[in-house]
């Protein structure tokens, strides 16, 4: 069974440009999460999808970030326009259910560098 995959693995863009990150969850997982680790900080929750619906986007930093999950399969996270402070590693995770005891399975992350 394939794990969570993310594309691209690295992205280097200039301030003001747009970048789109993609996440493919484990097949059959209705729940998809985005997290981010900014340099020197903890990994922080961004948002949670159940199928195509946003259940919790309390961690999204501002309106320059737009996440979508059309059809309830893969998800994209767009940053527009990118700022220097957006640099970091963006992780995606998925799980079959939502429960405090359930495991979230993580992808390898996308390292975003904004110059």
């Amino acid at each position: 069974e394939a794990g969570v995959t993310q594309f691209p693995s690295h992205s280097v863009i200039e301030k003001g440009q747009t970048v789109t990150l993609r996440c493919d969850p484990i097949s059959g997982h209705d729940n998809l999460y985005w997290y981010r680790r900014v340099m020197g900080k903890e990994i922080k929750f961004l948002l949670h999808f159940v199928k195509e619906s946003k259940q919790d986007e309390s961690g999204m930093p501002n309106n320059r970030f737009l996440a979508e999950r059309t059809g309830g399969t893969y998800s994209t996270l767009k940053v527009q326009p990118a700022e220097l402070e957006d640099s970091g590693v963006y992780f995606c995770a998925s799980s079959p259910r939502v429960a405090s005891t359930d495991t979230q399975y993580f992808g390898p992350g996308t390292r975003l560098t904004v110059l």
């Binding site: 405090s100 005891t101 390898p108």
Partner: protein
């Protein structure tokens, strides 16, 4: 709100010696706690989790952790370190609804030959 504190940002051990990575948690309810590991250029992998069953939890690769409510701790241990254990380790608590993980700052484990 839930939180975890990893008491050491870096730990260095010699191969074959015990590993201890310390984690304290804060939670207003009985928490679910996890340890994840990230090897260089890899994703986060679950080592083990505590979900209010046995307080001593065994994980993969010989790691285990003990939940101690009186000390609000969930330290990760391994009897004998291997070179392949060199990685960054994260102590994590789940929020009550389970949709959000709260991570500690991470502990980088270095294993010397």
């Amino acid at each position: 709100a839930q939180s975890v504190t990893q008491l050491d940002s870096h730990v260095s051990v010699s191969e074959g010696t015990p590993v201890l990575l310390r984690c304290n948690y804060s939670s207003s309810y009985s928490p679910s706690l996890f340890w994840y590991v990230q090897h260089p250029n890899k994703g986060l992998q679950l080592l083990l989790k505590y979900t209010s069953a046995a307080t001593l939890v065994k994980g993969i690769n010989g790691f285990e952790a003990e939940f101690k409510k009186s000390e609000t701790s969930f330290h990760l241990t391994k009897p004998s370190a291997h070179m392949s254990d060199a990685a960054e380790y994260f102590c994590v608590v789940s929020d009550l609804r389970g949709n959000k993980l709260v991570f500690g700052a991470g502990t980088i484990l270095r294993v010397k030959s």
